[in-house]
């Protein structure tokens, strides 16, 4: 991060350093206050709640570590983790792969490619909730446009089987987010100097070699950013499953965040258990991201 690069103070201004410091804090104080009150505070409260018998009615005293034990012993705990991981792997591979393919397709600028970029980007302005409702209608056996084709293959509802529900959700996410990753990777591609490609071509490199030896290594920082964002987003998936599949069929599409919602508001109505699962998710996410940063950065040094 660039945060280490503090602005150097010119000598002639040294007398007023304290006043400038004070001004700096003055401008930063609204952000500091909001972050403390609406981020750090709730975060601390979450830690406390996770060790507390906190039902809808209110705080009924500490009970650490009961909430954690109860969460782990939930029937849906391990299945939801497995499902979340499965979904994350599929979504990440598809989103990054297709995003890269589309980015390379529209890389050079022309009127047609400009149109294509816009076409791929429009879904990213649609809200995830709206998109989920849209695909709910699109997949519907009553009004959906694919009902005829599907009936021929003996499928009456796309969301009726656990695999169908997973694939249907992945398709929704691919539609909604591929443009986003295309754009991030496009920026990375445009950062690669054209001279390198020119030189490689003069040396007689094939396009496969150019991709492996030039594009891929130089795109690594952008790819790393995309992968981290995509993995984080997918691990925390909620809206699409809550709205599109509602966890059905047979609770087979329940992600960990969905389970958190259910524990807190539906099945147990126990905020303490929800908070305990929240702490587990938070710790897991931090660990996974540290691991990802290590792996993706380690590769860069080679």
């Amino acid at each position: 991060m660039s945060s280490a690069a503090a602005t150097p103070v010119k000598p002639k201004k040294r007398l007023s350093i304290q006043r400038r410091n004070l001004r700096g804090w003055g401008y930063a104080s609204p952000v500091a206050a909001v972050v403390l009150v609406f981020f750090v505070g709730p975060l601390v409260l979450m830690m406390y709640m996770s060790g507390t018998d906190w039902k809808m009615a209110g705080n009924q005293g500490t009970n650490f570590p009961d909430n954690f034990k109860d969460v782990v012993s939930q029937r849906q705990f391990w299945p939801s983790i497995l499902f979340t991981l499965k979904y994350t792997v599929i979504a990440t591979v598809l989103l990054i792969g297709l995003g890269l393919a589309l980015a390379m397709l529209v890389q050079e600028s022309s009127r047609w490619r400009g149109f294509l970029r816009t076409a791929f980007l429009i879904p990213t302005s649609v809200g995830l909730a709206s998109a989920s409702l849209l695909f709910y209608a699109l997949y519907s056996p009553a009004v959906g446009p694919f009902k005829g084709i599907l009936a021929k293959f003996g499928v009456d509802a796309i969301l009726g089987t656990s695999w169908g529900a997973l694939i249907g959700t992945v398709f929704l996410i691919v539609w909604r987010y591929t443009g986003f990753y295309m754009l991030l990777l496009l920026v990375g591609l445009q950062g690669i100097s054209g001279d390198l490609y020119e030189a490689a071509r003069i040396d007689g490199a094939s396009s496969g070699q150019i991709f492996r030896k030039i594009t891929f290594p130089l795109l690594r920082p952008s790819l790393a950013l995309c992968i981290i964002m995509c993995v984080t987003g997918s691990l925390l998936a909620f809206d699409q499953f809550y709205i599109l599949t509602k966890g059905a069929p047979d609770n087979s599409t329940i992600t960990v965040v969905y389970l958190l919602y259910k524990l807190a508001f539906e099945t147990k109505k126990h905020l303490g258990m929800g908070a305990a699962l929240g702490v587990i998710i938070l710790i897991a996410l931090v660990l996974i991201n540290i691991f990802q940063l290590k792996v993706l950065r380690g590769d860069e040094d080679e």
């Binding site: 709730p42 429009i122 754009l183 952008s222």
Partner: protein, 289 residues
């Protein structure tokens, strides 16, 4: 590649390019299809639709507009939450970005990292304690300020801060110091310099931050789902999902399609109008990532 193509005859070029155009056109159609389908279907006759069972027309939109308290209530909620969120995000990120870019003060890097760390904390996990926390601040629950809509707007703005502060910081850093110094010599205080000179210079950054805050707040479903307990204060996405669930027995897809169109049209217009700024936001984010 372009060099090779120049040497080929026009016919050969055509033969090479055609599959490319067919493939890319196909892809563009796939990406546009769901939106076009909903837009058309929302006016089409369909079974199960209360408003538009037969013939083409705006019956689904009439059902939508008359849903419970009337769509205007939810539209007003959405607008209130969105405007508040955009204003909070712009004010906080402008002041914060200016501070981070132009001043050095103790704790600066720590505060900046703290702002960025909001990205690392899952939305969903923070919402549970926020329910309790905001209740104590009269920003959620019964009798909350603005029926809890203020609390929703603040929380949405907090989640915008990492991107917004970062974006405004690099926008301010990109302005030559001389401009600010000239203003200071001319007798402006730093606040005067910020308001009179700097704001114009960071306008593209402000637009980008504003678009992202607008899209996030307008479309958000999860924050109001967790924080609002009265349906009358719901913004549109939440009302739309509730609407579908209440008619569960026979799902009125027509009204759902109309609702999706109603929610999406402003976003698509905003996106098309300000596409350049939208793309710019990603560029600045990815360059240093």
């Amino acid at each position: 590649m372009s060099k090779k193509l120049v040497k080929r005859s026009p016919m050969a070029q055509f033969a090479i390019r055609t599959p490319y155009y067919v493939l890319t056109l196909g892809l563009a159609i796939i990406f546009m299809y769901p939106l076009l389908w909903t837009a058309i279907k929302s006016f089409a006759p369909q079974g199960g639709s209360i408003g538009q069972p037969e013939g083409w027309g705006v019956g689904n939109y009439e059902t939508l507009f008359n849903y419970q308290a009337g769509i205007w209530v939810y539209l007003k909620n959405s607008l209130l939450i969105t405007i508040l969120c955009v204003v909070f995000t712009l004010v906080l990120s402008t002041l914060g970005g200016y501070a981070f870019a132009r001043f050095s003060f103790p704790g600066k890097n720590l505060l900046f990292l703290l702002v960025l760390s909001i990205l690392m904390v899952p939305y969903a996990t923070l919402l549970l304690p926020l329910i309790i926390w905001l209740k104590n601040l009269h920003l959620a629950g019964a009798g909350a300020i603005l029926g809890g809509r203020l609390g929703v707007a603040i929380v949405l703005a907090v989640f915008q801060l990492p991107f917004a502060v970062y974006m405004m910081r690099i926008s301010f850093e990109a302005i030559p110091k001389e401009i600010e110094e000239a203003a200071l010599i001319d007798g402006c205080g730093s606040l005067g310099a910020l308001l009179r000179i700097m704001l114009y210079a960071v306008k593209p950054g402000l637009i980008t931050v504003g678009i992202f805050a607008f899209l996030a707040a307008w479309n958000d479903f999860m924050v109001p789902l967790f924080l609002l307990n009265s349906g009358d204060n719901s913004p549109m996405p939440l009302a739309m999902v509730n609407m579908r669930q209440q008619v569960m027995g026979t799902i009125d897809y027509g009204v759902t399609e109309a609702g999706v169109v109603f929610l999406t049209v402003p976003c698509v217009i905003l996106f098309l109008a300000l596409q350049r700024h939208y793309v710019r936001g990603f560029m600045s984010g990815a360059l240093k990532g």
